[in-house]
């Protein structure tokens, strides 16, 4: 590694050249293949604070093909021994052009793409997009649709948080936690399948409602799941909360201050773990959150352990929300009664001329639901934080501009600062606790 650099004696305290990737990097020392300045055609901007005169640092590619890099994230780490001097995240490997495609699809068609952003909780993306569309159209969900979506959104939040905790534990070596959490996710996906017809790519919402009602057994399924989840959460906490390895690898690691959380526009569990009590469900209530009683889970430590604790706490709050929402689940329609926006019932399409015309106008290209010219910004609380949509309508059936504000994009920006001075293994912990999802990061 950097043993032959100036302070050669100090290398005794460091781990010798056994780190993954070290061999390649050593051979490339003369011409660091991954130097960010080389890659980007810039020279001379390298910091001179790499540990004193004569001290040389090593560059290491972490990702994009690395299991701990959660998707396709690439980090060029400048290392002093095993300590990170500077991290340089490279993103865009999963750039799919969702925003560009959004300008060429009708409002309802784009729902299918929203699934593919945060693929751990597609329902929350569906909800965020539908809430934004409703705000643009100036309409509201019918009460039953609001209630179903609140329940589904919170179930999806549990699915996201529990997988995040499981994967974080797996990255720290606690493999069994990951297996337990995937069992819970499978149960949740059974509910999603019963309601939306899909386990993962749910595409459940439409402008002004959802495309089909929840089945009669829906409340029982959810209650059954919710009654069993607390014991699993207890089990995970029993396994992790006093585990010295877990504590050692998460406590005090990757500390983010409250000021930085505001400065970097962090949101979601990452911001709340830093003491910033910011939750769109409270700040700007959508669906039926205004009527529900729940707490914003916060922590002040701002480290990986705090982010884990906030996620655990939020799952319990989600259970509270689901409980209340189930109690008030009303009957009634699940999409708005305006057939210029929502599809008319199928049996009417076959028998009623008016309904047939509406169906045709809704489906055919260039005829879909449309609204006045205008621009809105709407946000919802996705499991990772504030999922915002900036929509511009030019009065046609296709959005003129569809901007997604992905929480991961802003949350990931803090990464270089959070890992500065930490070990490589800590970078893995920090990344896992930020829960960066490449799908929504790159869109």
């Amino acid at each position: 590694m950097s043993g032959e650099a100036g302070e050669g004696d100090g290398s005794a305290a460091r781990i010798p050249a056994a780190a993954p990737g070290a061999t390649k990097a050593t051979t490339d020392r003369a011409r660091p293949a991954c130097a960010p300045d080389v890659v980007h055609g810039r020279t001379g901007s390298k910091k001179a604070d790499s540990g004193g005169p004569g001290r040389r640092t090593m560059l290491l590619n972490l990702g994009p093909q690395h299991p701990a890099m959660h998707g396709t994230l690439r980090n060029v780490l400048e290392l002093d021994g095993e300590r990170i001097v500077r991290a340089n995240p490279e993103i865009g490997f999963l750039h799919t052009g969702f925003e560009k495609l959004g300008e060429h699809m009708s409002y309802n068609q784009w729902v299918t793409l929203s699934d593919r952003m945060n693929y751990l909780s597609p329902l929350n993306n569906n909800i965020g997009y539908a809430v934004a569309c409703n705000e643009l159209f100036g309409i509201e969900f019918p009460p039953r649709a609001s209630c179903i979506l609140t329940i589904m959104g919170e179930l999806s939040r549990i699915a996201d948080h529990i997988i995040c905790v499981g994967l974080m534990a797996m990255d720290m070596g606690a493999f069994s936690v990951m297996l337990w959490t995937f069992v819970e996710r499978e149960k949740l996906y059974d509910i999603f399948e019963a309601v939306t017809g899909q386990r993962m790519m749910t595409s459940y919402t439409r402008v002004g409602g959802v495309f089909r009602d929840a089945p009669p057994e829906f409340p029982a399924m959810v209650r059954n799941f919710c009654s069993k989840l607390p014991s699993v959460l207890d089990e995970i906490e029993y396994m992790l909360n006093r585990n010295p390895i877990w504590l050692g690898r998460t406590r005090g690691i990757g500390v983010i201050t409250r000021e930085d959380a505001i400065e970097y526009s962090l949101s979601g569990p990452v911001a709340r773990a830093s003491g910033l009590a910011r939750d769109v469900r409270k700040d700007r209530p959508y669906l039926i959150y205004r009527e529900l009683d729940f707490d914003i889970v916060t922590d002040t430590a701002g480290d990986c352990f705090a982010r884990y604790k906030v996620r655990m706490g939020e799952m319990r709050q989600s259970l509270r929300i689901i409980e209340q929402a189930l109690d008030r689940l009303p009957s009634g329609p699940v999409k708005v009664d305006d057939h210029k926006i929502s599809l008319p019932p199928k049996h009417l399409v076959y028998t009623d001329m008016e309904a047939l015309i509406h169906h045709f106008k809704n489906i055919m290209p260039g005829h879909g639901p449309r609204t006045d010219r205008g621009e809105i910004y709407s946000c919802t609380e996705s499991p990772n934080g504030e999922l915002g949509f900036f929509l511009v309508s030019d009065g046609t059936g296709v959005p003129y501009r569809l901007r997604v504000r992905p929480p991961s994009f802003y949350n990931y920006q803090i990464f270089p600062k959070a890992v500065e001075g930490l070990m490589i293994s800590d970078a893995v912990a920090v990344l896992a606790s930020l829960n960066v999802i490449a799908g929504e990061l790159d869109r």
């Binding site: 011409r31 660091p32 293949a33 991954c34 130097a35 080389v38 890659v39 980007h40 055609g41 590619n61 490279e90 993103i91 865009g92 750039h95 052009g97 925003e99 560009k100 495609l101 300008e103 060429h104 705000e135 643009l136 100036g138 509201e140 930085d260 505001i262 400065e263 970097y264 526009s265 910033l276 910011r278 409270k282 700040d283 700007r284 010219r373 205008g374 621009e375 809105i376 910004y377 946000c379 504030e386 915002g388 900036f390 511009v392 030019d394 009065g395 003129y400 501009r401 901007r403 504000r405 994009f409 802003y410 920006q413 790159d442 869109r443």
Partner: protein
């Protein structure tokens, strides 16, 4: 959502902002209860700093920063590109949008990354997708598209199917001693 009360709050917010910003405001709109204030490109940094530091308005957080290409918009706009700053007050939970129109030729605007760190990547993305230049940005280069990519994909005159760049992506190979990280 009670649009009337939202609109009333919005008008109050707009009044407060107008009182604070004064002559910098070029125009303002309210749509679906959401306020948008238009300012000139020259004033943008002072406006953003004022909104951030003002103890009453306290828009301390940049919720999002994005851009719209109005090339094909049915009604005329003061400029082709609209840069949209979505500000949030973590204390009041309010949202205010600031918009700056930029001309089609050499769109340039001062960088807000000195005010919010959050603006760094957002501005890089706008530069990448629209070709808007941010003066004073510490590290303005492409973020989502690969290095060496030509064109700005989210511009309205860029075809959705692309221009076949995949064939002409520059290929970096170790033999050429150009360094890794190519397409």
């Amino acid at each position: 959502m009670a649009t009337d009360t939202v609109t009333a709050d919005t008008v109050k917010l707009l009044d407060a902002a107008t009182a604070r910003l004064g002559g910098a405001i070029v125009g303002s709109t309210v749509f679906r209860g959401q306020a948008e204030v238009e300012v000139g490109a020259r004033d943008i940094i002072s406006v953003l700093r004022l909104l951030k530091d003002d103890p009453e308005l306290a828009f301390d957080c940049l919720a999002d920063l994005t851009c719209v290409d109005y090339l094909e918009f049915p009604e005329p706009k003061p400029g082709r590109f609209g840069i949209v700053y979505i500000l949030r007050s973590t204390r009041h939970g309010r949202i205010l949008r600031i918009k700056v129109y930029l001309p089609a030729e050499d769109p340039e605007i001062p960088s807000a990354s000195g005010i919010w760190k959050a603006a760094d990547w957002a501005e890089r993305e706008i530069y990448d997708m629209y070709g808007v230049f941010f003066g004073g940005h510490p590290d303005l280069r492409r973020i989502l598209m690969p290095e060496g990519y030509e064109g700005h994909p989210l511009r309205k005159d860029y075809p959705v199917k692309g221009r076949g760049e995949r064939d002409n992506f520059p290929v970096y190979s170790p033999a050429e001693d150009k360094g890794g990280g190519g397409a």
